[in-house]
C-alpha cells in the first residue's frame, strides 16, 4: 500500500482483500488473473480513498473495481483466443459476469483461498509468498522487502506459484472431509514459517523482522475465526502470541541477541501473554492435544514465570517428553535434554544429548554444539565449552547469534 495511507484504511484494505478475491474467484476460477485484478482494485482503493474518503460500502467498491478489471482481462483474452482461432467452447475463462448485483461474500472463501495458497504441491517459499499476497493483501514490493530479495525475484516467485496452482489443478473449493485435517496442517505450517521468518530470521544482520510476525499473527487470528474450535489452530495462535510477547526483550540496542534466561521480563508484553495463556487453557480443555498446543503450553510456562528461577522445569520436561512421543524430531530431543538438565543437572542433560551426535539431521547445525557448550560450562569443563561455543559460532548463519556465541566463548576463556 502507499506510504501516506493511514493505518486504519490499510487494515481495512488488507482485511477485505481475501474476501474480495474469494468472491471474484467464485465467478472466474482463475487464481492468476483474479489475483491481479484484486491487487489492482486494492491499489485503486489505496490511492483514491485517502483523497475521496472511504466509500460507504468499501467491500462492494473493491469488488466492482476488481470485476470490471476482470471483464477487461476476459475481453482481451477472448480477443487473443479469437485471433488464434481457438474454439471458444473450451474456454474456462468465459463465465458471464453479473455486474449489477452485489455478489455475496462467503467467509469460507477466505478459508478456501488459504487451502489453495498453502497447497502441499507448492514449495514452502512459493506458498509463503502466495499466501502473503493473495490472503494477506500485501504488495509484491512489500513481500520482497520483508524477504530481502529484489522485487523482480519476488514477482517471479509469485507468478510461478500461481502457475503451479494452475498446473496441479487445485480447485477453488473446500477440501474433502477426509483430507481436510492434513490440508489444514499445511496451512498452519505455512503460517508458522511466516512467523518464524519474522521472529528469528536465520540469516542477515537484523534479528527480527517485525512485520512478518505481526502478519502471521493477523492471518492466524483470521484462521481461528474460520475454523472455530480447532485446537491446533488455537494452539498455533497461542504459540505465536506467547513467543512474540518477548520481542522487546529479545535483542539489545544494537541488535545483539539476549537469551531467554537473561531477558528483562519487565519488557515482556503482559497482554499478549494473558491472551496466549487463556488460549492454551481453552485449547487443552478440548481434549486431543497436538504439537502446537504443546509448544504453546511450554511457551506459557516460560512466560508466566516472574523470574527465570521460578520456571517450572519439571512440567516443561514432561511436555517435551509428550512431544517426543508424538514425532521424531531431534530439536525436541534437544529441548527435552535442556529441561532435564535444569531438573536433574547438566550431566543428565549431556547424557541425553549424546545420541544426537550421530544424528545426520543435525549435521552442520550449530544448536547442538551451543547447547552442549552451555551444559559443559555448567559442569566446569571450560576448555571443551569454549571449543564448542566457537564451533557453534562458525556454523550459524545468523550474525547476531554468531556474535553472541563468539562473545560467550571469549568471556569464558578470558575468565581463566
Amino acid at each position: 500500500m502507499s506510504g501516506k495511507l493511514d493505518t486504519s484504511t490499510e487494515h481495512l484494505l488488507r482485511e477485505l482483500a481475501p474476501q474480495v478475491l474469494g468472491a471474484v474467484m467464485r465467478r472466474y476460477r482463475n487464481l492468476s488473473s483474479c489475483e491481479d485484478a484484486v491487487q489492482e482494485a486494492l491499489i485503486a482503493g489505496s490511492t483514491q480513498w485517502p483523497e475521496e474518503g472511504v466509500p460507504h460500502n468499501p467491500r462492494g467498491w473493491l469488488l466492482q473495481v476488481a470485476l470490471r478489471r476482470m471483464t477487461d482481462i476476459v475481453r482481451s483474452e477472448i480477443a487473443r483466443r479469437n485471433r488464434e482461432a481457438v474454439a471458444m467452447e473450451d474456454s474456462s475463462l468465459v463465465v458471464a459476469p453479473t455486474m449489477y448485483s452485489e455478489p455475496e461474500i462467503d467467509p469460507d472463501d477466505t478459508l478456501v483461498l488459504l487451502f489453495m495458497c498453502c497447497h502441499p504441491s507448492l514449495s514452502a517459499p512459493a506458498a509463503i509468498a502466495l499466501t502473503l499476497r493473495a490472503v494477506g493483501g500485501l504488495t509484491t514490493s512489500e513481500i520482497a522487502k520483508a524477504f530481502l530479495v529484489p522485487e523482480a525475484t519476488m514477482a517471479q516467485r509469485i507468478s510461478r506459484a500461481k502457475q503451479s496452482v494452475k498446473t496441479s489443478d487445485v480447485a477453488f473449493q473446500m477440501p474433502e472431509a477426509s483430507e481436510r485435517a492434513e490440508r489444514l496442517g499445511s496451512v498452519l505450517h505455512v503460517l508458522y514459517l511466516i512467523f518464524n521468518e519474522g521472529y528469528a530470521t536465520s540469516s542477515g544482520a537484523e534479528l527480527q523482522r517485525t512485520d512478518l510476525s505481526s502478519e502471521a499473527i493477523r492471518l492466524t487470528r483470521l484462521l481461528v475465526k474460520l475454523v472455530p474450535g480447532d485446537g491446533e489452530t488455537i494452539g498455533l495462535l497461542a504459540l505465536m502470541l506467547l513467543t512474540d510477547a518477548r520481542r522487546a526483550a529479545r535483542s539489545g540496542p544494537n541488535g545483539e541477541l539476549i537469551p531467554l534466561d537473561e531477558q528483562d521480563r519487565g519488557l515482556w508484553d503482559r497482554e499478549m501473554i494473558a491472551e496466549g495463556a487463556a488460549l492454551v487453557a481453552a485449547a487443552f480443555s478440548r481434549g486431543a492435544v497436538g504439537e502446537y498446543q504443546l509448544l504453546a503450553a511450554i511457551a506459557a510456562l516460560h512466560d508466566e514465570a516472574p523470574r527465570v528461577e521460578d520456571t517450572d522445569w519439571p512440567q516443561i520436561q514432561a511436555l517435551y517428553g509428550v512431544l517426543m512421543r508424538m514425532s521424531d524430531n531431534p530439536m525436541t530431543v534437544m529441548n527435552h535434554a535442556i529441561a532435564a538438565a535444569m531438573v536433574d543437572g547438566p550431566t543428565k542433560g549431556l547424557e541425553l544429548l549424546a545420541p544426537l551426535e550421530q544424528d545426520e539431521r543435525l549435521r552442520g547445525n550449530h544448536r547442538l554444539d551451543a547447547v552442549r557448550a552451555h551444559l559443559l560450562e555448567r559442569t566446569g569443563e571450560r576448555d571443551a565449552a569454549v571449543k564448542l561455543y566457537q564451533s557453534a559460532a562458525s556454523k550459524t548463519s545468523s550474525i547476531p547469534e554468531k556474535n553472541y556465541l563468539m562473545l560467550k566463548a571469549a568471556r569464558l576463556r578470558d575468565g581463566k
Binding site: N254, G255, S394, K402
Partner: protein, 128 residues
C-alpha cells in the same frame, strides 16, 4: 558508479576474531555496525553481506555427468572472502576513501588491522 569492496582473509590469518579477548571482539563488532550505519546514512550503501565461516565453505565443480562434486576443508593459508560491501559513489576516489575506512577496523588491543580491501568496479549490464 558501483563498486564492490571485498574483505579477504586467510582461514587461519589475522582476522581470527574468535581467538581475541572479549572486549576486542566487541569493539570490532561495534566498528563494523557503525561503519554500516554511516554508509546507509550517507546514501551510498547498496548492499553488504558477511559470509559464514570458511569451515562451512565448499568448492563445487560439475562432474562428467553434470552432477556436483564438492571439495571442502581448505588449507589455513587459503584466502577467503569474509564479506563485502557494494556502494554507489560518484568517483573511484570516494570508493577508495570508504575502503580505507573499512581497513581501519580494530583488532587486538584496538590497534587497526589495516585489512587489505579489494576494490572492484561493477560492470554495467544493459537494462532489460
Amino acid at each position: 558508479m558501483k563498486y564492490m569492496l571485498m574483505m579477504n582473509t586467510q582461514a587461519g590469518g589475522e582476522y581470527q576474531l574468535m581467538s581475541w579477548p572479549k572486549q576486542d571482539i566487541e569493539a570490532h563488532i561495534a566498528f563494523m555496525m557503525d561503519f554500516h550505519k554511516k554508509l546507509t546514512a550517507s546514501g551510498e550503501l547498496v548492499d553488504a553481506q558477511g559470509l559464514t565461516s570458511p569451515s562451512q565453505a565448499r568448492l563445487v565443480r560439475a562432474g562428467k555427468d553434470g552432477k556436483p562434486v564438492t571439495d571442502g576443508v581448505f588449507p589455513e593459508s587459503k584466502e577467503f572472502l569474509a564479506g563485502y560491501w557494494i556502494i554507489d559513489v560518484p568517483s573511484a576516489a570516494r570508493a577508495y576513501e570508504i575502503a580505507a575506512q573499512a581497513s581501519l577496523a580494530p583488532g587486538v588491543g584496538g590497534v587497526p588491522l589495516y585489512l587489505p580491501i579489494e576494490v572492484r568496479e561493477i560492470g554495467v549490464a544493459p537494462k532489460k
